[in-house]
Every structure is written in structure tokens, then in C-alpha cells.
Amino acid sequence: MQERMKLPFLMPMLIFLFVWNILPLLWVVGLSFYQFSVLQGGIPRFLGLWNYISILEDPYFWERFRTTFSFVALAVSLELVIGFALGFLFNQKFPGKRIMLPIIFAPMIIAPVAAGVFFRFIYDPHWGVINYFLTKFFNIRLEFLEKADLALPAVAAVDIWMWSPFMMLMCLAGLQAVPQHLLEAAEIDRIPWFMRFRNIVLPHIRPVLVLAVLLRTIDAFKTFDIVFVMTGGGPGAATEVLPMSIYRQAFLFFRTGQASSLAVIVLFIAVAFTSIYLMMIPKEA
């Protein structure tokens, strides 16, 4: 009898997943082999691997990969450091934690669009608070989003603000998995804090941290909204990370075929990271 219910239970969701996910994926792979523009329509012309070759030969796109990886590396590494420090701090005993924790976690679930827009206001060279203090104390004024070398870190800062709490959450989960009695034993054994950390705490939280870093890497790699509202990829192409690049190619320059092949490359990178991630995740019992 159970066997009979299997299909009716599963099918609706599977069909849904197919139409709204697998189908578009196949479609984008297909498109990547054609010359096609949404704007002009018409019959797509088969190009084989030409789109890929043109992307891989174009230094402009290599520059986009570099931008993306700088963004991801900067954001994730700082998120790890800040998140770990926060996790360590909030693992201590003190009153009021129940009120503080949700406040710290809030940025995680705020819309990136809202966060991005608002940091623009804070960064503003004329009436932004940051520049007010910079002028007052250091007598400098920084055009965060208008200068090519500042824009990427400035955008990454928003991602860091939003997602360090996630690292903190993971660190807390890891730290709480460290058995209290081991720490007590170490305290009695007069083990100095760095040896305690290296040999007892770190081995316990390492698996969780590896997962957290991978997950954040994958997510930072997807970043679009913040960039879109803060800089639109500029100045020039200073903050044009790969998703932004796909968007620009497809919907500003209407090179649909080429954008699709870029999307497929991005897809492959994401799949590679995801596979690593899936290998790391503890297997179902």
C-alpha cells in the first residue's frame, strides 16, 4: 500500500523541480552553444564552443574572474576571523545574551538590497557618517564607491557585515560541541590556553568551520544584489563579479548566447565547490 502512495507523494514536487530548475539548466547549457540575442530574436545560430573560446580568450572576462575571487577571498576570510572572534566572545558566560544574539543575527536575514542601499548612504562622500568621522579625525574624504580600488572592499564590507554572524553561529555550534569536562581537565592539568585551543578546542570545531567556510564561499560567489544596488558593477568594471557580468552581458548588452556560456562556466565552478561541500558534509546515518 505504501508503494502505491510513493509516486503521488513525490511526483508533484519532482515535476516542479524539473520544470523550474532542471529545464532552465538544460536550456542555458543549450543556449551557450548558439549565437542568440533576446533583443533581436530570430533563429539562433549554432556556434559550437565558440562562445566559450571567446570568453576564455578575452582578458576582460579573466579580469572578472579575478574580481570575483578577490571579493570571495576578502569577504570569507574576514567573515571567518570576525565570526570566530564573535563566537568566542559569545561563548563566554554573561547576562543579556538572549537579547544581544538576535540583534547580531539580524543582518543575516535583512534583504541584501536594503543593506546595500543603506550602506550607500553611510558611505556617501558628502553626508555619509563614515566620511564625517574620517574628515573630522583624519581630515580625509574617501569616495568609497566611486574609486576603483576602494569599491570592491567597500562592497565586500557589506557582505562581511551581513554574514560574519553566520560564521559566529557556526563557531558557537562548534564551541558548544567541545565537552566542558575536557576544558576543566585541561585547566587542572595546567595546559596553557594556546595549547588548549590547538589540541582540544580546534579539533572539535574544525569540521564545522570547514563546512561554514565552504558554504560561505559558495554563497559569496553568488553575490549579485548588493553589487547591483551599490555600484551596478562599477566604477568601470571594478566590482563586476561574475553574476553581475552575466547580468550585464544578457540584459544590458543582450548577448544572450555568450552570457549563457559564461553562466555555464559559473555553474561549473559552483558545482565544483558544491561537490567538495557534499563530500565534507557528514553522511546520512
Partner: protein, 278 residues
């Protein structure tokens, strides 16, 4: 680290540090909310005003500027309807995967997790073509179906986890009493999943509420949601409209802030979806 309660009577240094950091961390949001209650002159004051006379003019202005109730209503409708649809669909699937001997269930779960990892930009092109083909651009049904899809991975993963935690004996007892699988699901499983389903629904609603790219590409003026309205409404002929943006964003994050406090207990499980096995 192992210090237990030795700091009695002394000021708790960690607590003070944590409080300072918490306040610092919430400053961007605080600043946003404060700005939304400032008059235009105060917003652009140099030096910035930390103490000011609060006013509701920005809110009145925002509501009257146009495209306020529409996007707000759209955001609400889309997040509610699509998430309910997704959860309804996935409860059955989650139950089947949890309880039946489904071939390839591991594959389904991993596929679902991979979908969560997928950059939206990768599928936005074919999605646009597909929707144009089907006439679903700027269409409620289209957006709701899209967001339902959007909610499936998270829902399936979480619901399966929660159903796994309900002991099988409950099902077996009911089945032995002659109940059908549907009755088991309705009378045995669902009542136990109450808080779990609430968690899944709230989380998904937040994700949909925050979604930007698809909404931006696939909606028109009639079906636009708030994130898009924030991103587009920022510019007016007189430059960047901060009064509008601050008030609209504040209204927009209120439900989310409420959700954080409501979700406190399940936040860990929800945000670490797919990372920590429970």
C-alpha cells in the same frame, strides 16, 4: 575558558565587551531607522545629527509618492502564497522520502542541496526566455510558481529532517489501526510538526521577501515587489531620494526584525541548513 563562576561581584568584562559590539553591530540598522524619522534638513545635516526631532514626514511622503501599497501587497501575497504552496507540496515528498523506501532518495536530497548552492544569475536567462514564451512575465501566477520552486529545497531538507525525528512507531501504530497513509500524515505527523512547519514557513517567507534578481527581471510595474522598488525608487529627478529609501527600507525590515526574535530558538537550525546534521 573553563572559568566558571569566579567573577562574582566583579564587572563581567565579556558582557560589557559583548554589549558594546552588539550596539556597534546594530548601528547601520539603527542609523537607517533614525534617518527615516529625520526631516530632510536633518538627513543631510553636516555634522550628522544624532539627536533630532523625530517626524513622520518621510513615511507620509513615501506612502504618497506612488508605488507603495502595490509592491507591499505584492511582496506579502507572493511570499505567503508561494511558501504555502511549496510547503504543501514538500510535506508529501518529505514524508515519502523519510518513510518509504524511495530509490534515489539520496540523489534527490543532494540535488536539492545543490540547487540551493546554484547562483541565481545562472538560470535567470533561460527563466526569462521560458516565462516570455509562456506569457508569464509580469504575472502573479508566474512569480508565485517561481518562488514556490525557490522555497522547495529548504523546505524539503528541513521537513525531512523534522519528520525523521518523529518516531516511526507512531505511524506503525496508526497504520495497524487501519488508518491510510494520508490519515497518518494528517492525524499523526502534522500535529507533531506544528512548530517545525512554522519555522520552515517563516524562513522561506524571509527568503522570498528578500529575493531581488528574479523579481527585477520578471516583474513589471503591477507585480513589482518591495526590494525592486527600493532599488529602482532610489533615483528621482532630484537625485538620490534618501527620505523615500530610508522610510521604505524601515517598513520593509520591520517584519524581518520581528521574525528574528520569533525564530530565536530555531535560528541555528534554519541558518545552518545543510551543514550540521541533527
Amino acid at each position: 575558558m573553563a572559568d566558571t563562576t569566579r567573577e562574582r561581584g566583579k564587572v563581567n568584562v565579556w558582557g560589557v565587551l559583548a554589549a558594546i559590539i552588539t550596539i556597534a553591530y546594530s548601528l547601520p540598522i539603527l542609523w537607517l531607522v533614525m534617518t527615516s524619522f529625520k526631516s530632510r534638513i536633518d538627513i543631510f545635516a553636516v555634522p550628522p545629527k544624532f539627536i533630532f526631532r523625530p517626524t513622520l514626514t518621510n513615511y507620509i511622503y513615501t506612502i504618497n509618492r506612488g508605488l507603495f501599497w502595490g509592491p507591499l501587497l505584492n511582496s506579502v501575497i507572493m511570499s505567503v502564497v508561494s511558501v504555502l504552496l511549496a510547503v504543501a507540496l514538500t510535506i508529501f515528498a518529505a514524508y515519502a522520502i523519510s518513510r518509504f523506501n524511495v530509490k534515489g532518495s539520496q540523489l534527490i536530497m543532494f540535488m536539492v542541496l545543490s540547487l540551493r548552492m546554484m547562483p541565481a544569475a545562472v538560470v535567470v536567462i533561460p527563466m526569462f526566455l521560458l516565462y516570455r514564451l509562456l506569457g508569464l512575465v509580469n504575472n502573479y501566477i508566474g512569480m508565485i510558481l517561481l518562488y514556490a520552486m525557490f522555497s522547495i529545497p529548504f523546505s524539503l531538507w528541513m521537513l525531512k529532517g523534522f519528520i525523521d525525528e518523529v518516531p516511526r512507531q507512531f505511524d506503525d501504530a496508526a497504520l495497524a489501526d487501519g488508518a491510510s497513509v494520508l490519515q497518518v500524515l494528517r492525524d499523526v505527523i502534522l500535529p507533531q510538526l506544528g512548530p517545525a512547519i512554522a519555522t520552515v514557513i517563516i524562513f522561506n517567507m524571509i527568503f522570498v521577501w528578500n529575493e531581488f534578481l528574479f523579481s527585477y527581471i520578471l516583474t513589471g510595474v503591477e507585480t513589482r515587489t518591495i526590494p525592486v522598488q527600493i532599488a529602482l525608487g532610489i533615483y528621482t529627478d532630484k537625485g538620490v531620494d534618501w527620505e523615500y529609501v530610508s522610510a521604505l527600507s524601515t517598513i520593509y525590515i520591520v517584519p524581518i526584525v520581528i521574525a528574528v526574535f520569533a525564530l530565536q530558538k530555531s535560528l541555528l537550525r534554519g541558518m545552518t541548513f545543510g551543514t550540521i546534521r541533527r
